[in-house]
Amino acid sequence: MKLSKIALRNIRRNTKRSILSATAITVATMAIVFMFALINGMILDMQWNITSYITGEIRLHNREYDKNEMVNPVFLNIRNAEEKIEKINSLPDTTIAVPRIPFYAVVYKNDKSFNIKGVGLDFEKEREFQDLEKYIKKGSIPGKGSSGIVIGYKLAEKMGLGIGDKFTVLTTTVYRGSNAMTFEVAGIASFGIGGLNGSTFYASLPRVQKLLKSDNAVTEILVKVADKTNLKSTVGEISAILKQMGDDSTNVKAYTSLDTTLSLMSIAQFAYDIIALIFFILASTVIVNTTMMVIFERMKEIGTISAMGMTGGQIQRLFFLEAFFIGILGALAGVIIGVGITLPLSRTGIDFGAAMEGVDFEISDIIRPVLNIKSTIGVFIYSVIISSLATIFPARKAAHVEPVEALKSI
């Protein structure tokens, strides 16, 4: 009789034991599938947050801006921004380019001072660029050129502001003098990045240009592209446009080459890799442990088949095949259940808001797990292999035990 047939018969003969073994593989596989999807979701979320709120996929800055960032250098700006944005938008590789002016300001309210960050932007374009509408908790996005602003909900709470309330910000102008302007709260937002919620407000670009006396200049232009793998060539195309326009004071950089982004991403990637590795080892231990226990429990059976003339090699192959078949069943079930749990959560998301309280990292409160087909297939194959390989050591040991000894082990 073929070994594979005996293996299948053995699986069927002791259904409870087979189910127990398969369940361990299922649970471990399911957990790995879900965990990988969650970590993938976290990385993509962080990438999206960084590129939507901070850097764009490509960022245009004044050459001197980065090294003077601490002194609120709104005077280190990009002139004729509208014309440049129009030309960048006409490139086939870009999807959208938006102008922004981030600036630091102070608010004196009720005998308290609040150091805050403002961002002058085009609300209409930002609806698309950062999906702004989705993050508005109360009120609405203000109209173009209005004195309305969108404020992070934690900052609004700290300053005691509600919809329709006004506050006056004092800041440095492009002439390095000071100016103040009054804004009205039109919308309260829960931005993707927790840190923004406690420090930032968005105001319309023309109002901020008036406040900073910067005419039509902006501090940065952020660009999103159709194909992220082609960032380098798009950076080259944008640089060529600037050169054509006689602008040699603006730097064009892909977000992947920005020091801050890169260090943030590498820290996050490292942390996630460690979490994934620990989880992977834990899940593998469950599979290995269960498989080994099953074999050690079957010493009497091993003694019997050995006494009936089955060779050590055949015994090893038999157990390997049993584990292989159970592994396929368990891993398949694990992948199906893992995908089944992940898919709805990838739409609704998981709220880590309470756990992330006080953590100033570029990650959203709500994380949506994202399935990766390659890694899911990889997890399936891994689970089958690990459960099969787990038989080698105990089966080998069992195969070398004398039948009499094996029969005594009961």
């Binding site: 005077f75 102070v106 004196y108 001072s113 002439y175 003098g177 000071s178 103040a180 302007m181 406040l211």
Partner: protein, 247 residues
């Protein structure tokens, strides 16, 4: 003969000693004279501000009014700050900006902010006490600064509620106007330096009309205040020194 000579010498020495004792001023008297010189019922001045920092030079201009030592109002007239006002009423400071719908009242740490990005802070404009109320003074000798013979007077704060814990004034022995001021932290770290380049006389008062302030905590930074027009007891527009008058 010898006795006569000795008596004459001793008498001359005594006369010199008595004369110098009578003419020597105490540091308190020097400071009082400094404050008397700078105190007038009211004034109006117009001037320019030249600010230099590591990013370059920029200019502004202003009109200012004072009433006594407690009330003042500065309105900036340069293009970049046109219409912005700073009103000081007793020890309160208010900022008016044409683009803002409310006044900003500055207090506490906010007073350390720089005025229109210059080397002068708002707290340099505040403070209603006389120097002698706030500081213990001591005469550290006499020195020549910018070609002028000066009293060197050391000021040590009596309490912590003053912007500078220590100051050194070099005060012109003739005009009783400071020629140079160095303002220090308690640790002795130099915070600011003020140098008077030029003065003018107005109704018996000596007024600094060209003055450089350097914030020593900023790199390559200085602000020059140049007074182009100065008048004592001028006609002051009604409402200049009240909050409603700012609008």
């Amino acid at each position: 003969m010898h006795t006569v000579k000795r008596t004459t010498a001793i008498s001359a020495l005594l006369i010199l000693l008595i004369t110098s004792m009578v003419s020597a001023l105490s540091p308190e008297q020097v400071i009082s004279k400094l404050e008397e010189n700078l105190l007038y019922p009211s004034s109006r001045s117009e001037g320019r501000i030249i600010i230099n920092d590591r990013f370059g030079e920029r200019k502004s201009s202003y009109v200012s009014y004072t009433s006594g030592k407690d009330n003042s109002m500065v309105e900036f007239t340069g293009k970049e700050e046109a219409g912005q006002k700073i009103l000081r009423l007793d020890n309160e400071l208010y900022l008016y900006y044409p683009d803002a719908e409310e006044l900003i009242r500055l207090q506490g740490a906010a007073l350390k902010q720089s005025v229109i990005g210059s080397d002068m802070s708002y707290e340099d404009m505040a403070g209603d006490k006389s120097i002698l109320d706030s500081y213990r003074v001591s005469l550290e000798g006499e020195e020549t600064v910018n070609g002028k013979a000066c009293y060197k007077v050391q000021l040590e704060a009596k309490s912590r509620d003053v912007p500078y814990q220590n100051q050194i004034f070099w005060i012109d022995k003739e005009t009783f106007l400071y020629v140079k001021i160095v303002q220090l932290a308690k640790s002795g770290k130099e915070l600011k330096e003020i140098t008077v380049k030029k003065t003018m006389e107005a109704e018996g008062h000596i007024i600094p009309v060209d003055m450089i302030i350097r914030d020593m905590l900023k790199k390559n930074s200085s602000t020059e205040f140049i007074v182009d027009d100065f008048e004592i007891n001028p006609d002051i527009p009604e409402g200049t020194f009240n909050l409603q008058g700012l609008w």
